[in-house]
Each structure stands twice: as C-alpha cells, then as structure tokens.
Amino acid sequence: MADRTPSAPARVAVRRTYKLYLGGAFPRSESGRSYPVTSSRGLHLANAAQASRKDVRDAVVAARKAFPGWSGRTAYNRGQILYRVAEMMEGRRAQFAGEVAAAQGVSEARAQGVVSAAIDRWVYYAGWGDKLGQVLGAANPVSGPYFNHSQPEPTGVVGVLAPDGSPLLGLVAVLAPVITAANTAVLVASERAPLPAVTLAEALATSDLPGGVVNVLTGRLGELAPPLAGHADVNALDLAGAGGLAAELEERAAGTLKRVVRAGRHDDWSAADPGVARIRPFVETKTVWHPMGVWRLRPGDPVALAGWSWRPAGWAAVSRNGRW
C-alpha cells in the first residue's frame, strides 16, 4: 500500500499555551485567567497566563523549597548548570529572536543581536559563580589568635521584577546574577512583553536547573508585585521593573528588612562587563571565628579561654565592653 501524502486537509495547528513556570512545572494560573499580549505595533501575539496572588505565594514556596539544594551545590556545579542554560537558549535562538522583534519592534538582525547579547550575558554570569568567594570574601587580620574569614553566601529567596523595556536582555541581566549567587528566584516578567520570559522558562526547564530555582510569573505587575514585596519568606527584592510602584514596594519590603535594589534611572542592560554590581546586593557576608592554639577543649574548661588573655590595652574603648 502506497503512502498517502497528506495533501488534502490542512494539518491542525499545534498552538502553544503560554503558562507559568512554578516549581519546575508549567501550570496555568490557579485563577484560570489569561491576558492578551500585543506586539509593539498593537497586533495580538498571544494570551499569556495572568497569575494571581496565590500563584505568587506558591512560587515563593517553590523557591524556598529549592533553596537548600541549589545553595548546597558546589559553586562550580552551579556554573556548569548555568552554562547548560546558555546552551539551551542557543537552541531556541529563532524563537527568542521572533519574540524580541515583535515586542521591541526591531528588525530581525537587531533582534538576533539582542539574543546574542542575552546568551553572552548568561554565560558571563555562569562564570561568576565560583569566583565570587574569592572576590567578595576575605581573610581578616584580627588582633588575636584567631583564624577569621568572611565569605559571601546567598541571601535566600529573591523577588525579581524584570525591566519592562528590555524583555530578554534586561530579563537575563537581572535574573542570572541572582541565581549565580546561589539564591532562588521568583521572577515577575515584563507585563507588556512576557513572551521571552516564558521561552526562557522553557530553556531553564530543559537544562539541568533544578525545579523551583527560578519561578516565572506573568500577569499584572500591580497585582503581583505588592504581595511579593510584602511576603515574609522573601529575603530580597530587585525592583528593576517596578516603575511607579517602587515606593510602595520598598515600604512593604521594609516590613521584614528585605534587601532591596532600586531601579536605576538609566539602567543600561547592554554593558558588556557589569561586574558584581547586581550580585553583591544578593549575598550576605558570613564571618567565622576560630581560635588558633594547641590546647584541647575539655569539659569544664572556661569556654572563652581562647579569647580573653590576649586583649590589648584600650580594647574596651574599641569594643565598648565587648559589644558593638
């Protein structure tokens, strides 16, 4: 029997549903809502999921759950995984370019350039992971018989509001530094142009990035940002895309002493070497003191034995009775 060429009826199109990315899965919003996304010229592009406050809370739970595993890996291994993400982005280059061209109203060639810059930026931050400790850490020369060193550690769960004007490069420029520092993230995509974020989520899901390390929400900024900024289990907030909500969000963030990065007046996402400027706000410095000596700690020893005999004259003035 000869093969029949399927020429007559047109094939039923496989249409893509733009969903959220939560805990490694792609659910619709629990609210069941979606909203229309248009190109820079006002043409309808797609219906994106319109996340709710409950989706925000679910995303924070997923990010918190993923934090011990992600921060517990070696920095080198995180770097390898992030490089793998760049490989996956490279494979979706055409899709990214199409979405960037539609969202920003630029030519195909210009969109390709933006995609290249975004992938390069991702690789740049992938490389930072195992160098942070050396650049931001220190061995501290204290006046006493102690080994004392400071190391950067992840702040925890970081809420990221992606910038509105640069839906792919800006997105990468705010997200990659957060997770290369071993944080986990809840990302609110650009409300106007969320499609590159959804495609990035699909690249993340097909890399070796554990589920929950990045959670992507699409929807109304005014609905999603306030509960994220006020959430007690979020440790830090990047307000790059906050727009007019920034003051209100900072006020909410202050309630639980979140670390906050304000949007710059002229954030330039195209700088080739941004350094650690966007990493440093999302690390905490841990300082460990360890006595140096040849004694052996025994039950009954005064525990501060190592610390008290050497203090130089004038110490009290410096330390105010031993406390700052």
């Binding site: 220190a138 501290n140 020369p141 204290v142 006046s143 006493g144 102690y146 004392n148 400071s150 550690e153 702040t155 925890g156 007690a232 440790n235 639980t256 002493l257 670390r259 905490e284 410095t285 841990k286 300082t287 460990v288 003191w289 360890h290 006595p291 052996r296 700690l297 525990v303 501060a304 190592a306 610390g307 410096v318 330390s319 031993g322 406390r323 700052w324």
Partner: protein, 125 residues
Amino acid sequence: MTGTACSYEQNPAERGYWFPPTVFTGVTQAHRIAREEIFGPVLSVLTFRTPEEAVAKANNTPYGLSAGVWTEKGSRMLWTASRLRAGVVWSNTFDVFDPASPFGGYKESGYGREGGRHGLEAYLG
C-alpha cells in the same frame, strides 16, 4: 510554659530593677522565649540529637545575627558553620570582636556590615 523550668536565685522585685541570671530548660521552638530575643541575662536551652537537627533548629528563625558552635572536631565545626544562617559564627569562643572583622546579620537582623573591608565598603562612593 508547659515543660519549661526556670531557675534563678531570688525574686528580682526584692533588689531593684535588675534581673538575676536565669536559665530556661526544656524549651521548645514554639516558645516565645526561643523565638524572640530577651534583652537580659537569660538563656533558653534547647536540645538536639544530631548535628542536622541542631542546624535546623538554629536556622528556624527570621533572625540571623550570630551563632556559636562548640566542638573539638575541626571538620564538624566547618560543616556546621557553613550551614548556619548567621552573619557571625563563633567557634569554641563567643562574643569576640575586632575592627578588622565584619559584623552584621542575615535576614531580619539588619542591613550591611560593620568592620573589616566589608564595613568600609559602605563609606566608598
């Protein structure tokens, strides 16, 4: 405070506005005296059976200014110190400070560091 024993020498009301050194034993994580800092000469004592349990209990708080570890095993100290979510970890010592050593907390214990290179950074442009 079911199951919690409180021991101190005498009734504080008898001798001015001073509170005698006090040790609470049998404290659980649910107790307010374990969840919030008491700014007084008071110690809330919890117990643990494994190092993992000790770390989980120590980190189960919205604060993280300092922590202390006592052990005679260096590898255990480093293991524990790397898991404690606190700005300063004192090992086999406590409450030691130096202008060259950064001091400051994680989470809701505050912003930034004082001391050391990290403390100086806030003064640079």
